[in-house]
Symmetry: D2
Subunit: 283 residues, 4 copies
């Protein structure tokens, strides 16, 4: 399935300010960028950095005073693997790839050490595997209210659990916290999300599990607000602290990002949206 994704970002920059962006679609086994264009006005030199351990594609530019417009357009093909949820297992720590251990550690917005007891109490009795992580995503969807404006950039998983409300970022943090608390590596994902209304950047999470073909990151969306088959990944990381679509290092007024995603190969008007909390896609 092919998707056209785009975003347009507008800034009004005071003085000189470097900006780092992470808005470009990743290239992975199940997500191919077929074509893409990046347009910056005024024209500015950019430096690129693809982070080896995450596949995140960063670029940096140095803007001068005045307006700055960054526009990214791409056609991306998603080929989600299909699998039998019952056949997807958790991996015990002695067999996890050592590079995945990083995603067991607590991070700024995910105090999984403090939430471990909660996770065990609520999900510890469930049969380990894909369905347990799906149960976590479902629990969040059922128990946390999606309320725009209810959280801010310092809100952590602990806060969200207490306040019982948040946005996609907070839902993802809480899902990751529960997974890590149970010994399941999990990470934060920013994405273009098909059928998300209103259109915006989205955040979901991935857990490291093992299917018949080996270990992979399986995606879960506890908000159920987007179509789980139409998530185009931009950034992955420990938590939102590592995955910002834009980091300005200087003063700038930001307009709202204009984000779009369109399915090219199916009739978006007639197909009933899928709203599973989890996806069939794995990296």
């Amino acid at each position: 399935m092919r998707y056209a994704v785009s975003c347009v970002l507008n800034y009004d920059v005071q003085g000189n300010a470097p900006f780092v962006f992470n808005i470009e679609a990743q290239n992975t086994e199940h997500q191919k960028v077929l074509d893409e264009t990046l347009t910056i006005s005024p024209q500015l030199a950019i430096e690129r950095f693809d982070m080896p351990e995450s596949g995140n594609r960063y670029f940096r530019l140095r803007a001068g005073p005045g307006p700055l417009k960054v526009e990214y357009r791409a056609t991306v093909e998603l080929t989600p693997a299909t699998f039998d949820p019952e056949a997807v297992q958790e991996v015990e720590p002695g067999r996890l790839p050592l590079e995945a251990l990083t995603h067991l550690y607590p991070s700024r917005y995910i105090e999984s050490d403090l939430l471990q007891q909660f996770a065990k109490r609520e999900f510890g009795h469930l049969k380990p595997g894909y369905q347990r992580v799906a149960a976590i995503a479902n629990w969040i969807c059922d128990n946390i209210d999606y309320v725009r404006g209810s959280s801010d950039e310092s809100t952590s998983a602990r806060d969200t659990l207490i306040q019982r409300q948040g946005v996609c970022r907070d839902f993802a943090h809480l899902g990751i916290a529960f997974c890590r608390g149970l010994g399941i590596p999990a990470r934060f994902v920013s994405a273009y999300a098909w059928r998300l209304q209103p259109p915006d950047f989205h955040a979901v999470f991935e857990a490291w599990l093992e299917g018949p073909e080996g270990g992979a990151w399986f995606m879960f969306d506890p908000t159920r607000l987007a179509d789980s088959d139409g998530l185009v990944r931009m950034g992955v990381g420990r938590d939102a602290a590592e995955v910002a679509f834009c980091s300005p290092y200087g003063e700038a007024d930001c307009g709202s990002p204009k984000v779009r995603i369109e399915a090219l190969d199916r009739d978006a008007n007639t197909t009933k949206p899928t709203t599973r909390a989890v996806t069939l896609a794995a990296a």
Copy 2:
């Protein structure tokens, strides 16, 4: 029903240190002290202060270096009011006695402002009244594990909810937090607790509700560890910060308090303990 209560407290004091104690049974409509003795070794002068708004009975002494032993023994009669739970209502804020409003505010260990959303999400749909507070106590009993040593003196209701474990003090804090979050005045109670095993000082909470005979503080014990008809109150307050059985203002080594309570009017061996989460007693 009459109870014999006692506690023996031993200290080894370095230097000169004032101590404030709150170990004596309160005198209220439903709790009468029939006789009592307080023995201090070495013999020391004490100052007394009965706090008008709480009925707490404090005394202070100034100990010198060496051993200090404080011993309190009393016979207390409890005459719990009986009532029909269905007939006990919550009181809306416009009709609450103004002195009870204090017990709607958040306090050190009870961030009821932060837990309000949680309280509403979990208990907001329940029919207001005694049964709703009982549901809160039951929820805590079902969802929080009683684990000795799992909390310390800085643990608050928010921590307890996240960690899913605590001791009687923490259970009471969480119950109060949920009540205040729903607009129900609630306060912390320290008590001698019949059938608590092992014997120790206990902590429960009270909510201000209104029965057919008017407003009163109704007691709830979310631990279900003691007999709800045999709780002899020592101190009430906003939270544990205000209700310490002993506050030493100087260095002293404390032995474990030896606490006892015995039912004088019934056969403790044959009567089946009641383990309701709530009591039939009101002040």
Copy 3:
């Protein structure tokens, strides 16, 4: 010195909502209300409650849908005691009045238990007495920035210390935290504040100290934004959780309070403002 104080509060009430107000000037030894009027539009019955332990004057009304206007005007005489700061001492716990011990405990916005070590490290070496509390107020004035909008209703002393900014409420909380951490009873005070610009309700703190004439609450204003001789007290309490000028129990839109205070006995234009961090007034 006489002051004319007034406030006008406007609300737009949805549905029926009880309101509790604490806007009237206290009557104490050093603060006498000479005359006062309270006007409520529409005319509504009020219930009054003067809290014995604080002297706070509360009244409650029950508003129906539509506009509500509450207007208070008073003439108040302040007769601050003069004293020699060097002669004002801290009181060791063994000699504190037992009712003051309450103000040693931590409270919702004042984690004095957690800040005790900080207080000792920063102020523990100073000579105990009035001047040490003045040093605390000065430290706050020097180290915390007064920034409108930098805090919200869940901000506590710990947050303020970390963020190094706040408003009068936060400055007072931090001052109280340091005092309690050093064993000095301290409490929160809301007041009409002469020469505060722009005019608004103000918050300061008081510490229990002992002058030649005995123990008293001494006032300190770590913001230095008002004239320390012209503070007319409305409410005192453990912290801001207990001292709100208005608590609505229902939905209502609030306009900004219009607060005024005028010195009747001196020429406000020619007298140089005093901006000591502490006052010469004691209750």
Copy 4:
């Protein structure tokens, strides 16, 4: 300068448990492992993983029930670069290597977002460069007390700043927090530390700065407890969550690690220890 380092770790394992260790010395430009031996009793297969982005050397083993002993011995050569502190600059974000940006983000134990204002208020006026980071390390040494047992594994930089005490781990976290708050990339380092008394694993921090020969990680030890020229690095990471010398995934009783480090090329008894808060060594 050559150092002999060693550690002996003893466990009593219940059941089967995987362990991940990070106790081996790194190989970097300024730190060469000349020889090393790793002995495990009972003999067990190990898996190795050298993390590319950090140079950390991990190994994993799967222990069965009973005693487990892990022993590491190495000879390491340190060739610290010498430099003129005045010539070492901070690097503005537009010129930082993009892989270093990760170390500007807040992490579990380092809420640099919340401490940014504190950092700016305390160190913002200082001239940027090596000397500013040295001033941070000195401030911590002067303002935080090193108190064994004063913190635990959930203690964060915010807690340490409030409590004014901690151990080497906490000192490093706070130093990193201040650096990140000022826009200086900083990371956590675990090390064998010459002259640390009593001998133990040590924790320090590194900041990314730029000398005449280019960008490098410069080491700072705010505890001043070890000889800054004799730090043999084991692990680097965002914070202590990522840098554990041992992570057991199962139940095991741990004895105290026996850690040793000896200078082979100088007379430890006659040379006066250097106790600068910062090192002349860069990676």
